[in-house]
């Protein structure tokens, strides 16, 4: 297994290089740093000096790929590609346009993001799977059909509606929790409970329906008949036997997103004013701060690849037949 993991990690390197090159091409070749400066300075007629100053302050005043003015190794390393793009491999994200260290900002904002994301993920998973198992229990009855119809209806509603509607009803009409904001420590409960609930409600339609199809595929198999023949109750059969055997397809979709929980949710965080990574990204997009967007793109891909590796490992945990070689 160790050998397998090492191979997977080695395989991740060319992919990350690809991501890095892609973002580099997007951010520096399609539009040059001059364009960026012009847009950031925001005036129609910007002088070349102002552009040069902007570039120099942020370290964009270097050649893109090859610095012919420098000597030796500096020819390659004293370039925008090396300083701004390749440096992300050691998680050195540089500075945002307002001069703050992106790495420190990420570390600071991870906490609030996780406070929302982890409960949403865990409680949500439990709710979706239970709902799907209940639909499977009542399969081919009116209850099941009503459940599926509800799922289709719920997944047809825009995610924005859940947020706006939830804020309006819970915070504005009933005054139960503040509309938005965040506080650390024990105070955070009243701020995070609504985003978590809304996050769960938003996913219930598509997730439950997806799990239901997985369970329905399992329910026709022989071991289910055996379990029933042994006299186990239908609930017991579903919640222990079927659930365990459906773990592989469930894990395939679920484990991948666990590392991405760090990134937070763009919409929820910005609507509820939670100072996490999601709202950081949105602010960066709105302010057109490319260095932050670039860092987030790279971080996101790293986390995604970690998720893929975790998925493989999780298979061996739930299914002893799976061997990683």
């Amino acid at each position: 297994m160790i050998a397998y993991l090492i191979r997977r990690i080695l395989y991740a390197i060319p992919i990350l290089i690809g991501v890095n090159l892609l973002t580099f091409a997007l951010f520096f070749v399609v539009n040059t740093p001059d364009d960026m400066a012009r847009m950031q300075l925001g005036v129609k007629r910007v002088t070349q000096e102002a552009i040069d100053k902007w570039k120099q302050q942020r370290g964009y005043d270097k050649p893109l790929l090859l610095n012919s003015a420098a000597d030796g190794a500096d020819k390659l390393t004293d370039t925008i590609f090396w300083k701004k793009s390749a440096s992300m491999f050691v998680f050195d994200f540089g500075y945002s346009d307002d001069g703050r260290s992106i790495g420190r900002e990420i570390a600071k904002r991870m906490g609030p993001s996780l406070t929302i994301a982890i409960p949403t993920f865990l409680v949500g998973l439990a709710v979706y799977i239970s709902f799907a198992l209940l639909m499977t229990l009542f399969r081919a009855t009116v209850l099941d059909m009503a459940g599926v119809a509800l799922c289709v209806l719920l997944m047809s509603i825009s995610g924005l509606f859940y947020i706006i509607g939830g804020q309006f009803v819970v915070s504005k009409l009933w005054h139960l929790v503040p509309i938005s904001g965040y506080a650390g420590g024990a105070d955070s409960f009243k701020f995070v409970v609504l985003p978590i609930l809304i996050g769960i409600a938003g996913g219930i339609g598509s997730s439950s329906r997806w799990y239901r199809t997985i369970f329905l595929e399992e329910i026709g198999k022989d071991y289910v008949r055996t379990a029933r023949a042994k006299g186990l109750s239908e609930l017991r059969v579903l919640f222990t036997h079927v659930l365990k055997n459906a773990m592989i397809p469930i894990l395939t979709g679920v484990v991948v997103v666990i590392p991405l929980l760090f990134m937070g949710s763009l919409l929820t965080e910005s609507f509820f004013g939670i100072p996490g990574l999601g709202s950081y990204t949105i602010d960066a997009i709105n302010a057109q701060d490319f260095s932050v967007v670039r860092a987030m793109v790279f971080l996101g891909s790293v986390l995604y690849i970690v998720g893929l590796i975790l998925t493989d490992i999780s298979y061996t945990v739930v299914d002893p037949r799976v061997r990683l070689q």
């Binding site: 060319p14 690809g18 997944m155 047809s156 825009s158 924005l160 706006i164 919409l267 996101g300 995604y304």
Partner: protein, 453 residues
Amino acid sequence: MNFIPVILWSDALVFLLLATIIAAVWYVRRHEHLLLPWRRVVHNSVAMVSLLLLSLLLTIGLLDTLHFRVALPQANGSDKVYSPEVLSVFDKLVEPLRAQTEKTYSEPFALRLYARESMSDAQGNIVRDFPRLKYGGAHLADESQRTADILKRALLGGGLGLLVGLLSFYLTHRTLHCASGCDLAASFTTMVLTTLIGAVVSLAAAYHVLGTDKVGQDVLYLSLKSIRTGLIIGTVTTLVTLPLALFLGVAAGYFRGWVDDVIQYIYTVLSSIPSVLLIAAMVLMMQLFIDKHADWFDLAILRADARLVALCLILGLTSWTGLCRLLRGETLKLREMEYIQAAQSFGVSGLRILARHIMPNVMHIVLIALVMDFSALVLAEAVLSYVGVGVDPTMISFGTMINGARLEMGREPMVWWALAAAFGFMLVLVLAANLFADAVRDAFDPRLNRTGP
């Protein structure tokens, strides 16, 4: 001529798509085995009801795609000059809705504005009150007649609509001779729809049925215009997704070796970037690019349209990987089939095997994936516009409507109608698309074995 037709980029792509669909329909009609799954779709009442709704929305969208510019009144002898405003046939059809703008917000069916204004009363005193609307219910001399007038108009319009619905029901049953084949649910929906349309048309002539927005535009008009944007995002994107996923996926699965490695590498790289971030990054770059070449677009609508097309392109570039992976897997299975081996031993070339033997056999996957993606794309548009990487802010879309109305959430009393209208129309569009997609999937999925339609 008093106008010149204008074909925007998005229009051209829509026409291209339409031509493809017509060609596909013509092809399928001549092949019984291809027709069979569609028969199953037709026999599904949920599918027919949602198809009916979809085609109504599609008609609105298509009418809104035929653009033209009106000639300005000209002085004698001078050259003809066309208005910079690009209108569509749909705009012309609902001209009053478009032209009758109020000053600012007004509630649905309101007679008065939503904001107080200083005005002088009959005695010449300055008072602050809600002024009457310029157009909404302007024909009423007495405000107390409003309820009766609304009822009268709704009944009249609804009745007429119902009559049309009944007539079409009678005619279809006469001409199609369907004792058992015709779908009662669809006929019933037709009648409900015609009644509703009749009532809304008759009411919209005198009131702002869904109120007005911040700059006084009719919300009903904005919602109807948003349909085109949503449809374009949902459909034109497939023009990018489809060829990429189809050719690369099938080629990777069939040729294997280094071709497979390269294609797998490309889609792993693309899919490992979280899609919102990749879209955001690409849209930001595209925005910068369009700003830099502002002189390419002499009309504001051209710039907005270029952004829409570019957004479709970007959404397509970021969303083909899932389908590509599916197709690769399916082709890997198919290439071991006997009929492929037979073709290979006859010496049929690789490309020909792909085109004649493999592609037709993965088409059901493509179709299912495309109809399933549609609703996701419509929903994504609203989210992207909120994030600030969606369509141009001047383009009417569900996203920009929600975005504009959201800022008024804090207003007391709340301005709810624009949000409600945008979410409502979006729900109808997405729900119909989802239900139709489900029916298509059920009909085409070979795993569900069945006999006959």
